[in-house]
């Protein structure tokens, strides 16, 4: 006989009663109540804490049992089995397995699942899409004034573009479009949609066309490998994964996780693009020595050394104090990363371009 509170489902008034197991069900007695209910018409809700356990009847009545241990043995005697999830969680060994398994699967997803999925998605994406996306990004950057029209001579731009287009390609010839913009720091990158964007400042730093061509080839490598879109997909999938894992709060944690995780992948892409550039330059008999020199110059580059000092006048009045000029510099530096923070700039890489031979060939 286990003490319980009985509710008849018609009123919320508690009736102090007792419950006992019978041959094939339970019997509730007390306070004017005496009913026998078959096992079939019962559902059990065991409790795992201070809340009472409950037996629910078909007709809406229910019985609350405060004594947890007694309720457990009663339910067991009546053949109640916890649902699958609870059974797994109740045993230490299986629970530990679940936790370990979960960590393992999450790690696997992060290391392999997300890159594979991003790759598959990018490959399945129509080229037209990527181009539209790239165009929008370009417009957005131009609308914000981050990209300004190039001030290089048309002749120089055309010459570089022509050389890029006329390159012999080792593998299948990728579609690409080389455009020049001024964005106050020397950099070059590939946008989705086959755009290779090169900054005037980078061209200004280079000794000759060969160096610029090597950089362009590297970026074409990114285009050929669809790295930009893939990187975006990775970041999106990662943050989607993080958001799902975290649930409906802490978007900051999810964004952080997604952002930091995404950085890990780009090193591999960069190296692949380097190999692509090296192969290209070799096939076209272009020396990569001047590119190595360009990288050295980039390592030493500071905004104050920029040839295009006139740019800054658009942000800061000519009679501005030195502190304001420095602040404007800091803001510029901050808007687009210098080439080297998005491309690995190790000595090894520079030497690789000096020799013209990839480190793992």
């Amino acid at each position: 006989m286990i003490a319980c509170r009985y509710f008849d489902g018609v009123s919320s008034r508690a009736i102090a009663a007792s419950v006992v197991a019978t041959n094939d069900g339970v019997r509730i007695t007390g306070g004017g109540v005496d009913r026998i209910v078959d096992r079939v018409g019962l559902s059990f809700a065991p409790s795992r804490g201070d809340a009472p356990s409950r037996i629910a009847f078909d007709d809406g009545a229910l019985c609350e049992i405060p004594d947890r241990a007694a309720a457990e043995s009663l339910f067991a005697a009546l053949g109640h089995r916890a649902d699958f999830g609870d059974r797994i969680a109740s045993r230490r060994s299986t629970l530990a397995l679940v936790v370990a398994g979960f960590i393992g699967i999450s790690a696997a997803l992060y290391l392999w699942g997300v890159p594979l999925a991003a790759d598959a998605i990018t490959r399945g994406m129509p080229a037209e899409w990527q181009r539209t996306f790239g165009v929008r990004v370009l417009y957005a950057l131009e609308a914000r004034g981050i990209f300004q029209p190039s001030t290089l001579s048309a002749e120089r731009r055309d010459r570089l573009r022509l050389r890029a287009q006329q390159m012999k390609f080792v593998d299948e010839r990728p579609t690409f479009d080389v455009i020049f913009r001024r964005f106050k720091v020397p950099n070059a990158f590939a946008l989705p949609g086959e755009f290779v964007v090169v900054s005037d400042e980078l061209v200004a730093l280079a000794k000759d066309d060969d160096a610029v061509l090597t950089v362009i080839a590297h970026e074409i490598g990114h285009v050929a490998h669809r790295d930009a879109m893939r990187g975006l997909m990775r970041a999106t999938l990662l943050s989607a994964l993080a958001t799902w894992y975290v649930g409906d709060a802490s978007t900051i944690a999810a964004t952080v996780a997604g952002g930091l995780g995404g950085l890990h992948y780009t090193r591999h892409d960069e190296h692949e693009a380097d190999l692509f550039a090296l192969r290209q330059m070799r096939a076209n008999h272009v020396s990569t020595q001047s590119a190595a020199d360009l990288f050295r110059s980039l390592m030493a580059w500071r905004p104050t050394m920029s040839v295009e000092r006139a740019d800054r006048s658009s942000d800061v009045p000519p009679d501005a104090k030195k502190e304001d000029v420095k602040k404007a510099d800091a803001k510029e530096r901050v808007r687009i990363p210098v080439y080297l923070s998005t491309h690995p700039a190790t000595e090894a890489r520079i030497r690789m371009f000096e020799s013209g031979v990839a480190s793992d060939e």
């Binding site: 809406g60 609870d86 649930g247 802490s250 923070s341």
Partner: protein, 381 residues
């Protein structure tokens, strides 16, 4: 450490709600939910949700009796499939044509009030206390009357901006006129927001039933605007703090050795700013809870909500810290702490022994419940 806001209790006072869930117990439920959902590629998720809800309900006590959730995972699964189809329709439409995408979005917006209405009916019809079921008796027309203004308020500014822009092809230059119109639209939206949110709350509370007893909502629009004013002041305070944080980040950026690692200081500055902005949520949540429940009655007897913004903020802040430090595994413990405080700050002046069953109980399909969830509408207003 006690975080209970109710220190003195005598029988004539309101009966408190109590949450008895523990982090260690919920952790088991949570981790198994995650693992099984992952392994089954999401198919387990309705079962996971039911387990979670049953745990929360079953550990919410009033007068030593728990609440109960009766929803069937199969019903939820059907709902998830419907939601999935809608999601696919939405994402595919854009690939086919912009016109189609607009049509799909318009249809989704048109059925949204219906879905939410269904979700409330499902949720309440599958909730019970001491064997007596809840119900939602708001009309569908009422749902539309409540939701359409809200939807317009949320989408209005964007619509205005789109209408005023020269087109979609080249958003290079957005005319000053368009920006001005956008600003005005946002302002109007902010001004009517308290009113519309108040109407939403009123609609939800006024038509809720427990057995033969009815809930009532007696807040005034004026009260809603006073609350909004207080939240606005809080927002100002938080914005000031986040500006300071951003400034700090910028100051670090201009230090000499941060040249090639230019992303880091921004990152730190904006992270701090984010945290500051996130603070708005607990500060607002406590006040919203108090406003909503202090003005609600069941059977004529009032509820009492005494959640403190500062305490809730403290709980959320420490929760976030521990969450980050434990790489997320603190989550179930954090949820329990939060629920314990929020539920513990609620009480009811009525007598729990006086609820009686009502004649009419129907069976509501689950499609509404899940679609509302999948599109992120966890309406905790």
């Amino acid at each position: 450490m006690t975080e209970s806001p109710i220190d003195t209790y005598s029988p004539r006072d309101a009966r408190p709600f109590v949450f008895t869930g523990t982090g260690s117990e919920y952790f088991k439920i949570w981790i198994v939910n995650l693992a099984l959902t992952l392994v089954t590629l999401g198919i387990y998720s309705p079962w996971a949700k039911v387990r979670r809800l049953r745990y929360f309900y079953g550990n919410t006590l009033l007068d030593d009796s728990p609440f109960e959730f009766h929803g069937s995972p199969w019903a939820l699964l059907k709902g998830r499939l419907v939601a999935l189809m809608l999601l696919v329709a939405y994402s595919q439409a854009g690939k086919i044509s912009t016109m189609l995408w607009f049509v799909v979005v318009a249809v989704l917006i048109a059925i949204l009030p219906w879905l939410l209405w269904r979700s409330w009916r499902f949720r309440l019809a599958n909730s019970s206390y001491r064997g007596i079921r809840f119900r939602f008796e708001g009309s569908l027309a009422g749902a539309y009357a409540t939701f359409i203004p809200l939807i317009l308020m949320v989408l209005g500014p964007t619509l205005v901006l789109v209408l005023f822009s020269s087109g979609f092809a080249a958003p290079r230059v957005i005319a000053g006129k368009a920006m001005g119109a956008y600003g005005v639209a946002i302002l109007i939206a902010l001004l009517v927001a308290p009113w519309f949110v108040y109407r939403l709350r009123a609609y939800r509370h006024r038509h809720a039933r427990l057995g033969a007893s009815a809930f009532a909502f007696n807040a005034t629009v004026g009260g809603a605007y006073r609350l909004a004013g207080m939240l606005f002041l809080t927002l100002i305070g938080v914005i000031v703090c986040s500006f300071l944080a951003a400034f700090l980040g910028g100051a670090i950026a201009s230090l000499p050795h941060y040249e090639s690692r230019s992303m880091m200081p921004i990152f730190v500055g904006s992270a701090v700013g984010y945290v500051a902005l996130l603070s708005i949520y607990p500060l607002a949540a406590a006040r919203l809870q108090n406003f909503a429940w202090n003005n609600t009655t069941l059977d004529g007897q009032s509820f009492q909500s005494r959640a403190s913004s500062l305490t809730l903020w403290g709980i959320d802040a420490t929760n976030l810290l521990l969450f980050v430090v434990t790489l997320g595994f603190y989550w179930p413990f954090a949820m329990m702490r939060r629920a314990r405080y929020r539920i513990g700050s609620l009480a009811w002046f009525g007598d729990p022994d006086t609820i009686a069953r009502s004649a009419a109980i129907g069976n509501v399909g689950a499609a509404g419940d899940e679609t509302a969830d999948l599109f992120g509408f966890e309406l905790a207003l």
